[in-house]
Subunit: 198 residues, 2 copies
Amino acid sequence: MAIIVDKEQKKRDIALACKDLFFQNSVKDLSISTIAATAGVGKGTIYNYFNNKEEILFEIVNVLLRDHDIVKREKLSRESTTKGKIKVFSDFFYNEEDLELRELYKDFVAISLSSPSKEIKDFQTNHATYYHSWMKGIVQEGIEKNEITPESINLVQTICAANEGLFIASVSTNRIENLEREINLHIDAMFNFMERKK
Amino acid sequence: MAIIVDKEQKKRDIALACKDLFFQNSVKDLSISTIAATAGVGKGTIYNYFNNKEEILFEIVNVLLRDHDIVKREKLSRESTTKGKIKVFSDFFYNEEDLELRELYKDFVAISLSSPSKEIKDFQTNHATYYHSWMKGIVQEGIEKNEITPESINLVQTICAANEGLFIASVSTNRIENLEREINLHIDAMFNFMERKK
DNA sequence: TTTGAATGACTGACCATTAGTCATTCAAAA
DNA sequence: TTTTGAATGACTAATGGTCAGTCATTCAAA
């Protein structure tokens, strides 16, 4: 009949083609024309695959998060203690290699705060739930290995939230000079309470 | 020679005139024309007092925060325990009476995440520092009254960050069904560690 | 007391740019 | 040759921001 393209693949191709554009500019400062030109397609084509700029950002984040998770799993497997794992788990917010992904993540949170559409919220919920239960698994494991107390499981939510809160503060204010230090301090403080006293 | 207006006052007047507009719409969805019409001035006049829409939001938040603080001080004085005070301090994120201010606050954080201009960051830093040291004062007082351990002072940062993080999560995801409960749970958990054992 | 020059406040028409649409074109398959 | 999905970019409507001109008030000089 006519050309049939793999819609999902093309969507990914377009998104990844302007990855760097999104790294260097905030979504707000990018025009659809620029994005289309960078991806090497017409403006109309963009609208064949995405409803708006934000969805392109989501697609990029989605793809990058998959790679990020693989690396994270790798790094986690090299840690033996629960505390070490939690620290590695939290290093997304400050480490050098996730700098670009973090740039996108900022935009991402900004969008979900100002335009709470259903899709965006579901998207965020999925990711948040995924990482939350991942961390919960790590803590659970620590409990089973008798490293930390059973009540520690109730602090998972707080650790996650504090990480997020510290990150937001480090971006939106000048109050946090050293995020890595700040996050590790708070994890240390939490583990003081969570660790089994011998 | 000519008319001299109180610039600061007029700025406040314009901002407050479209307060409700900002409550009901996100900054993104408001046009300068609409804002100008609502405030009853010409579009050009807006630019005599503000550089962009965001600055109008800041002005509104500034004024409202002043009132909010008075009420908060009032409420705090009625609490006798440190734990009670911290809970009252944190209720901004979920209580009914601050609903509108919270709407603005969301926009506010979104802007500081996506357009980190110097002014915005300074503005945020001032407020964050102000509230942070306020809470620190409350904790300090609790330590002096021998209610909580001296080490508690190190958890102020974590409590603040976790509140913020939980709030962000409640807005941007569907994971937190009851923010009030979640925040109070985490404060209770923290106080379990902070309180002096008798 | 009158007057007109000086000045600051205010304005909305105007311009450049943008998001989003859609009629048209293109190319492959039948 | 015909059919049909994909791609396109000219077009429209709306927006943010500018700026040349208008207006109102004041006050010094006549």
